[in-house]
């Protein structure tokens, strides 16, 4: 898929952050021989070749750019991984330990580093993660207007339908949510939007990225973020990423009962399988969500497979 044609924005800030966190050699190859704006993920595993995910396809990183041949690939070391994580934490792992405990670090500019290593538990609580063995650097992309084709289906005269964006990992849920919030603002829908950014990915920190009518609560669990946000910021719409736990479901129900619309996303590969997800029966039975937007990787991240109503009847695509 050609992200450029879709309106991928060239992000100076991510490049700067990648330069800060990646080893110089890797950064030079990426900046000179691979175009950053087409990279979705950089996977670095100890003793394994560095893998790039470009438009849903996976290739190795070699000295001369991307390669399909493992013999030409650059292999990562444990020291390289530790150094990337150290740099991503602005040389202060202790300052991001709460994120590390949850398995990721988010840098300025919205780069998210998923971490693999040894989790240290003490008294049934995760204390930290050490002995890092892999890091997955996810590079966010702002794709202007990617939500536009579904915009009129999930908005109504007096607000936004409760909508669930459904897709497998890496298929563009966050990008879709971010663009939708931006579209609301650009079309002067003066709804107070609360962005509950649990992992710090939704707001990339750029001008107008989250619109002019948005407030943001970052790194809070959904239960706490929803309750505090509704009490203190009186939103008309709450936008949040990746529902998954039982308390997330409770938080959504709380918001809906308070008369606040919810636009959320969930990991799932099809509408049919959504009903089988744990904790989601209540949503389905009570028809909490009036719209479902299904995304896939079929034509690259962000492919809209369809928009469905509360009865799972397809209303477009």
């Amino acid at each position: 898929m050609n992200l450029k044609k879709m309106g991928a924005v060239d992000y100076y800030e991510e490049n700067i952050m990648l330069k800060k966190i990646l080893p110089d050699k890797i950064y030079e190859i990426l900046s000179e021989k691979v175009n950053f704006k087409f990279i979705n993920e950089i996977r670095v595993r100890a003793g394994k070749p560095i893998v790039l995910s470009i438009g849903g396809h996976r290739v190795f990183l070699g000295e001369k750019g991307t390669t399909g041949n493992i013999k030409d690939a650059i292999f990562a070391s444990k020291i390289m991984i530790e150094d990337i994580i150290f740099r991503a934490s602005e040389c202060s792992l202790y300052s991001v330990n709460e994120q590390i405990k949850r398995g990721f670090i988010v840098t300025a500019g919205g780069l998210r580093l998923g971490l693999g290593g040894d989790l240290i538990e003490e008294n049934d609580k995760i204390k930290t993660m050490t002995n890092f063995t892999s890091v997955n650097i996810r590079i966010p992309h702002e794709i202007k207007n990617c939500s536009l084709s579904t915009f009129d289906l999930i908005t109504k005269k007096d607000g936004v339908y409760n909508t669930l964006v459904v897709s497998p990992p890496g298929a563009g849920k966050t990008t879709y949510l971010r663009d939708f919030v931006c579209q609301l603002s650009e079309r002067n829908y003066a709804y107070n939007v609360l962005i509950l950014d649990e992992r710090g990915e939704l707001d990339l920190g750029k001008d107008n990225c989250i619109g002019n009518f948005s407030d943001k609560i970052s790194f809070a669990r959904k239960k706490i973020g929803f309750e505090n946000g509704i009490r203190s910021l009186s939103p008309n719409l709450i936008v949040t990423d990746e529902l998954g736990q039982s308390e997330d479901v409770d938080a959504v129900l709380y918001a809906v009962n308070c008369g606040v619309s919810v636009l959320a996303s969930v990991h799932c590969d099809s509408i049919e399988n959504l009903a089988n997800k744990p904790f989601f029966e209540k949503f389905i039975q009570d028809k909490i969500f009036k719209r479902f937007v299904l995304l896939s990787l079929r034509n690259g991240p962000g492919t809209i497979e369809g928009v469905y109503n509360e009865n799972f009847a397809r209303i477009r695509c």
């Binding site: 602005e90 040389c91 202060s92 300052s95």
Partner: protein
């Protein structure tokens, strides 16, 4: 004219003595600043989770001066301009013994590389070692620092006596 030259000889010898004593003073001040740095880290890391770079940038001017440039060299590493190597970290610092560098270098290498509890314990461990280094450096300063100046002046006076 003769007296002017003789006075100059005494001052010159005293100055040479001062230069020798300065090394001991610098060492003592350096370890004292390192202890203050550790204490600051411990507080900032535990209470505000402040980033390393900000901690270094917000150091008192006096501490910065007494650290003799090790803070600037470390900031260069944080900015990814140099590798963290002994030769780079202790660049332009000639008053430390190799055995002392071997204690200080791992301290800088461990900074920022663990969670709050572990980092705080590490800092306290290094604090104890730095306090011990400070004690001996301070004792040396008291013993040899003033002695160098005195010896310088005595040497000057001795030369005066010879010339006269």
């Amino acid at each position: 004219m003769k007296y002017v030259i003789l006075t100059a000889v005494v001052i010159l010898c005293g100055f040479i003595g001062y230069l020798f004593s300065r090394k001991y003073k610098q060492r003592s001040n350096f370890f004292s600043a390192l202890i203050l740095l550790c204490q600051k880290f411990d507080v900032e890391i535990n209470y505000s989770r402040e980033r390393l770079k900000n901690i270094f940038l917000s150091l008192d001017e006096k501490i910065k001066k007494n650290l003799s440039g090790i803070d600037k060299n470390y900031l260069l590493y944080l900015d990814k301009e140099i590798e963290l190597e002994k030769s780079e970290l202790f660049k332009n610092i000639g008053f430390l013994k190799e055995s002392e560098k071997d204690v200080i270098f791992p301290f800088f290498r461990t900074l920022g590389r663990s969670d709050v509890d572990s980092q705080s314990k590490e800092i306290k461990n290094y604090l104890t070692r730095f306090e011990s280094l400070f004690s001996s450096a301070d004792a040396e300063n008291k013993k040899y620092g003033t002695l160098s100046i005195k010896l310088g002046v005595i040497l000057g006076l001795f030369l005066v006596v010879i010339f006269v």
